[in-house]
C-alpha cells in the first residue's frame, strides 16, 4: 500500500538509470579505485560537536574522501562516482523523564535510531527504516551502553538519533551486479556512528566511563598483493570500493583508558591471514587488534572534538 503520509512517486514505480558504459565493458578493472594509503594508515576524520543547538548534544562526522573520489570531484569526468565518503549527523536528546506508560527502570533507558537519508547510498533508500538500519541501531546501542554510567539517571531516557547523509559503498560499483557477499560498507558506517555518538554524548554531558570510539579492520585479498601465497592481508580502515575482495572484516567499539571492548562485530572467514613471519597471532586476533588500533586512532580525533566542546561551553559561561 502506498504511504499516505508522504508524497509518493509514480504508482508504476521508477527505475534507476542504467549507464551504457557499464554494459559494454563488464570488467572495467582499469577504472577500479586503488588504495593509496599504507595498510596501517587511517583516513582523516572531521568531527565537530554542537552544530544542532536544540539538542542536548550533537555531532557531525565526515571521513576524508579517498584519493580517487577527490580526483573525481576536482576534475569530474564521469557521472558515476568512484567511491563515497561517510557523512553523518548525530543528535542526543535527554536525559529526559520516561513517559508515564513506561515500566520503571533503575537505569538510563537508551534508544538508538540509525537512518540513512534516501540519497545516502548508490541505491535509493526508502523513508521507513529497513532491517539493516535497525540492525545498525542495535549494534550502536550495545557499543554505547557499555560506556555510559547508566545508574546515575534512574527513570530517564536518552535518545540517540543518527542520520547518515552519505554512506560508504559495500563494494566497488563495477562489481555490484554479480557479487553477493556481505554488505561491508555497513561496518564502516557503524564505526563512524560509534565515534559520532560518543562525541554527542560527551557534548550532552552524560557521564561515561571513557570515550568510546569505533574502528574497522579487514582481511583483504587483492590480485596485486605482494605475498606470493595470495593469502589475505590486514588493512586498517578499509574502503570497500578500493578492494576486489574482502575476506573478513571486524568493527570494535573500544575504550582506550580501560582497554575494554564494548562491541565486537566480525564477519567473514578470518582463519587465513598473511602476517609477519615472527607474528604468532591467529588471523582472528590480528583482525581484532587491527580494529582496536584503528579505534585508537579515531579516539585522538574524538578527544580533540570533546575538548573543543568543553572549551566552547566554558566560553559561554
Amino acid at each position: 500500500m502506498a504511504d499516505r503520509r508522504r508524497i509518493n512517486g509514480p504508482p508504476g514505480g521508477t527505475r534507476p538509470p542504467v549507464f551504457a558504459s557499464v554494459q559494454q565493458s563488464s570488467t572495467g578493472a582499469a577504472d577500479r579505485a586503488r588504495r593509496q594509503r599504507q595498510p596501517a594508515e587511517l583516513r582523516k576524520i572531521f568531527l565537530k560537536t554542537g552544530l544542532i543547538p536544540t539538542a542536548s548534544g550533537s555531532s557531525y562526522l565526515e571521513f576524508e574522501p579517498s584519493a580517487s573520489l577527490a580526483a573525481a570531484r576536482s576534475n569530474p569526468k564521469s557521472l558515476i562516482p568512484p567511491s563515497s565518503a561517510l557523512k553523518l549527523a548525530c543528535t542526543v536528546h535527554g536525559p529526559k523523564p520516561l513517559p508515564r506508560s513506561a515500566a520503571f527502570s533503575p537505569n538510563l533507558v537508551l534508544t538508538t535510531h540509525v537512518k540513512y537519508a534516501p540519497f545516502a547510498a548508490r541505491k535509493r533508500k526508502g523513508h521507513i527504516r529497513d532491517a539493516s538500519e535497525r540492525d545498525l541501531g542495535v549494534h550502536l546501542e550495545t557499543a554505547i551502553r557499555g560506556a555510559i554510567v547508566a545508574e546515575r539517571w534512574p527513570k530517564s531516557g536518552l535518545d540517540i538519533t543518527i542520520t547518515v547523509i552519505e554512506a560508504e559503498d559495500d563494494r566497488w560499483w563495477g562489481d555490484a551486479p554479480n557479487s553477493h557477499d556481505a554488505s561491508w560498507g555497513m561496518m564502516n558506517v557503524l564505526a563512524g556512528c560509534i565515534t559520532a555518538a560518543s562525541a554527542a554524548i560527551a557534548d550532552a554531558r552524560i557521564d561515561c566511563l571513557d570515550l568510546v570510539s569505533g574502528g574497522v579492520a579487514a582481511l583483504v585479498a587483492d590480485d596485486e598483493s605482494p605475498s606470493s601465497t595470495g593469502a589475505p592481508r590486514l588493512m586498517l580502515d578499509m574502503d570497500p570500493a578500493e578492494h576486489q575482495s574482502i575476506v573478513s572484516a571486524c568493527v570494535v567499539a573500544y575504550m582506550p583508558a580501560r582497554d575494554e571492548i564494548t562491541e565486537l562485530w566480525l564477519k567473514g572467514d578470518s582463519s587465513r591471514a598473511a602476517l609477519e613471519k615472527d607474528d604468532e597471532r591467529t588471523g582472528h586476533e590480528a583482525l581484532v587488534d587491527g580494529a582496536v588500533d584503528a579505534a585508537r586512532g579515531a579516539n585522538t580525533v574524538l578527544a580533540e572534538a570533546v575538548k573543543e566542546s568543553m572549551e566552547r561551553s566554558i566560553a559561554q559561561v
Binding site: 508522504r6 521508477t14 536544540t54 539538542a55 550533537s58 537512518k115 540519497f119
Partner: protein, 394 residues
Amino acid sequence: MASTTASHATPPSLSLPPSQFARLQPHAYLLAHLSPPAASNQPSLRANGRAASQFRVTSANAGSLTHTNGSAVVRIGDTAAVCGVRAEILNTEDIASWSVSHASDEQTDDKKSKSEEGDTDSQDKEDRAHIQDLNLLVPNLSLSTGCAPGFTPGAAPSALAQSLSHQLLSLLHSTRLVQADDLRIWYQPPNLEAEALGEQMDVDSEESGNPAREIKAFWVLYIDVMIISLAGNPFDAAWASVLAALRDTKLPKAWWDDDNETILCSDDIADAKKLSLRGLPIASSFCSFEADAAAGWRSVIIPDAEEQKAQEQKQKKQGMQQRWVLADPDGYEEGLSQERACVVVDKENDGKAKTVIVKMEKHGGWALDGDDMRQLVDVSAQRWDEMKRILDQC
C-alpha cells in the same frame, strides 16, 4: 529545616539571569526587548539581537553529496536543511493510461513544437499535465532526524512534516520551476520504410517523411529534504535547499536503445545537461508578535475595526507599538506568535525587472492587514537580492 535555610548569610537574590527569565516569562522577555523603556535609549531589537525585518545569516553549499544528481546544504542561522535530488526513469510503458491518453496528443504536440515555439499557453498546460499528472516531482521532507526534541525518530512523519512536504510540492507546481521538456526522453524511430523502399522509388520517399518522434520515458526527480537542525522557520530553509539543489542538478543524457529495449544513459559528464529552471522564487516567512499576550485567545469576539484602528493610532502617537512583524522567526519567537505569513517573490529578467509575487500565505490571525502585507513584499524583494547573491556563490 527552617534553621538551616536561615543560617545562610546572604538572602536569595530576587533578580534572575536573562536566560532563566527567558524561560519563565518568554512573552514578557521578548516584549521587553522590543519595547525598551524610553529612558534607556536602546533601539528596539529582538531577543536574538536582530532588528524586526532582519533575516538570520544564511549560507548555502551545493554539490557536496556523492550519490545525488544535485545536492545542497542551506543553513539559515541554526536551522539547517540538506537536500538531495535523485533522478530515476519512468518508462511510458509503466504508466497505466499512457497509450490511451497521450498517444494521440503526441503527434499534434510534435507538429506544434516543430512549427513554432512561441505558443507558450498550450505548452504551459502540457508542462503542467505531464509534471503534475505523472508525479514527476516527488519532494519529501523529513523532520525525524533528531532535529528538535519534539519529533520522535522512527515515527511516521508528523503533521508539520507532511504539511511542509505538501507546501514544497505545491510551490514546485505553481511556480512551474522545472520544465517538463527537461524531463522527457525522446526517441526518433529510424525511417525503415524509406530505406527499404528507397532503392525502388526515390520519388515517394519525400512524401512518407520520418515517423513521428515519441516520448519513451520521463525523468522523475526525487527531492528529499532532511532538516538536520530545526530552530524555527523550516520552510524557508527547505525551499532554499530545494532551489539550490535543483540548480545544481545534472541529468545524464539518455536515449532509447532499440536492441536492448531499455533506456540507456551516458555517464560522460560532458553529455549531462543542467536543468533550466524558470526564475528564482525565494520564500520569506514572517510572524506577528502581539504586545498583548492574550491577543490570540480573546479573538472570539470580532473586534470593531474602526474603534480598534482609532485606538491603535492613539497608541502609536504615544510611541507605544502594539504589534511587531518579525522576519525569519527563530524557534523561540515562533512559539510566541499565532499569526504567520509567507511571501514567495521572484524578480523578472534576473532581478532587473519588476518583482512578481508567486505565493502569499497568511494564517493564524487577522492582525496583519493589506498595508503590512505590502511592506512584507518589499522586505521579501530585498531578501530576494540577498538570497540570489548567496545562491549564485554556492
